[in-house]
Symmetry: C2
Subunit: 262 residues, 2 copies
DNA sequence: CGCCTGCTTGACCTCGCTCAAGGCCCGTGG
DNA sequence: CCACGGGCCTTGAGCGAGGTCAAGCAGGCG
């Protein structure tokens, strides 16, 4: 009945992730999602020096309280930000897909208010805070675009608050699946109605505030309803409309629509 | 046993809220919390024209999907951002105290991803998006400070995710109380261990993802433990350390500490 | 005076948690 | 080649935190 598939498959975004010509600068990729860059702006962004680092699955990248001097963009893989409560339980507060900058807010706030973990083996592009801040000071449109990126993250947080505060287990999971597929699609990382999503059921629980056991039963319910498959680290949505309906999902909060140029 | 006190008392921040000399410009107040302004910067901020408006309790200020051309700061009172789910239930995703700018993110995102309501009768200071954006373009340090303000909001959202995802009812309420008192204090709106907090038990439920009934019983528990009083729209914390302990509260995420100047 | 809003209480129910055990797949080492 | 161990998924049984429904009460206001 239950198909068995190798765990933790290849990965996300590995094949020439986000552009054509060799290695596009991660900032250029991020910025041109919300802006049409001028040559000067592109040059300024590309001048920010990048150091690429690989991290293994379940490796801590940054710790709560850290005052890092560099921030990073996810090139491939999956990272998350989480916080630990008094009981020792962990809540994932954000998922970062390729193209995201998980700790961009750190450049402004200086201190990190949660841990950042690699969920799967990932490729990260580190940039110095100083260089990013200088870029912001010299290129106001780019500063605005980066600001906007952090505001979208905040909008996602708000929707997560709603998800955890008001929705039942099935809806929470369905909603998360809808969000992940929509964001993957926006990054060009989905194929049809499927995308890589190599997280464990335990991870899902920590993101949705549910126990591992209940996530398992909830997944069975979604599976048996014919809405999704979630096996082998891959998410396949069989009926998008029905899943969105089930999860009370409206993608407006992702601000993926036609870019609102200033 | 249960004392009865008039509902919806005077209000918050009414008495010469945030400064000495007549009416300080709301932007100046907000900005100088994280920055020591130069004369030029102060002048530029004060040049942003402001229109003050009073709103009644439970009045909608902005609606989800709106594309406002102005944003506002809370001068006095209490507002919130909330979202409504399919079942009709409402989740409050943010509380705004005097000094906050509830829809500052709207200047960059253009569209609002939730409703903004006046929780109590409030005084709001509206400013045009264009003027604020122009200020950002001309004064990079002010732009950074406003960006930072939205990042602190995001950090609060993340903590709320944790609150809703991992904590029991008593902890959720205790945590919220700690947060409100800390933020009120930071705005100079607390007196000793008490502050105005004129919300109904229903409002508390919508902020913490609990039913009204359960909020009521939970409040009794906190009251009988001698930790807080919450009557007559006023919050009084009798044992701060114990309440913080009970609510698993660590104020680090509020970024109230000594301002991290660039 | 009567209504409306907000608080309080009781009884019952259910969603989701906890505890516990077993199974499958894979990697490792003898 | 096989034995062993460790993730991760699955299933069952019992329980408990919190929801729902319903009613009553107190105070403010027209």
């Amino acid at each position: 009945m239950t198909e068995r598939v190798p765990v933790r498959p290849p990965g996300i975004g590995t094949p020439g992730a986000s552009g054509a010509s060799g290695l596009p600068h991660p900032l250029v990729g991020l910025l041109s999602r919300s802006l049409r860059l001028t040559d000067e702006e592109r040059a300024a962004a590309q001048a920010v020096r990048v150091r690429v680092r690989e991290v293994a699955a379940d490796e801590p990248i940054l710790r709560e309280g850290d005052r890092p001097s560099r921030c990073f963009a996810v090139l491939a893989g999956l990272t998350c930000m989480s916080k630990v409560v008094g009981t020792g339980a962990r809540q994932i507060v954000a998922l970062h897909l390729p193209g995201d900058m998980p700790d961009l807010h750190g450049t402004q706030l200086g201190r990190l208010d949660g841990d950042i973990w690699a969920v799967t083996a990932s490729t990260l592009a580190f940039m110095g805070h100083a260089a990013v801040l200088q870029l912001c000071a010299q290129q106001p449109r780019l500063a605005a675009a980066l600001w906007r990126a952090t505001l979208v993250d905040a909008a996602i947080h708000r929707e997560w608050v709603v998800n955890l505060g008001q929705r039942l287990a099935v809806q929470r999971i369905a909603h998360l699946f809808c969000e992940v597929l929509a964001r993957m699609e926006a990054m060009g990382l989905a194929s049809g109605d499927a995308c890589a999503f190599p997280v464990t059921q335990g991870d899902l629980g920590e993101a949705t505030g549910l126990s591992l056991v209940h996530v398992n039963r909830t997944l069975q319910e979604l599976r048996q309803a014919g809405l999704v498959s979630f096996e082998g680290g891959r998410l396949t949505v069989h009926d998008r409309a029905a899943l969105a309906e089930r999860g009370d999902f409206d993608p407006a909060y992702l601000f993926l629509g036609p870019r609102a140029e200033a």
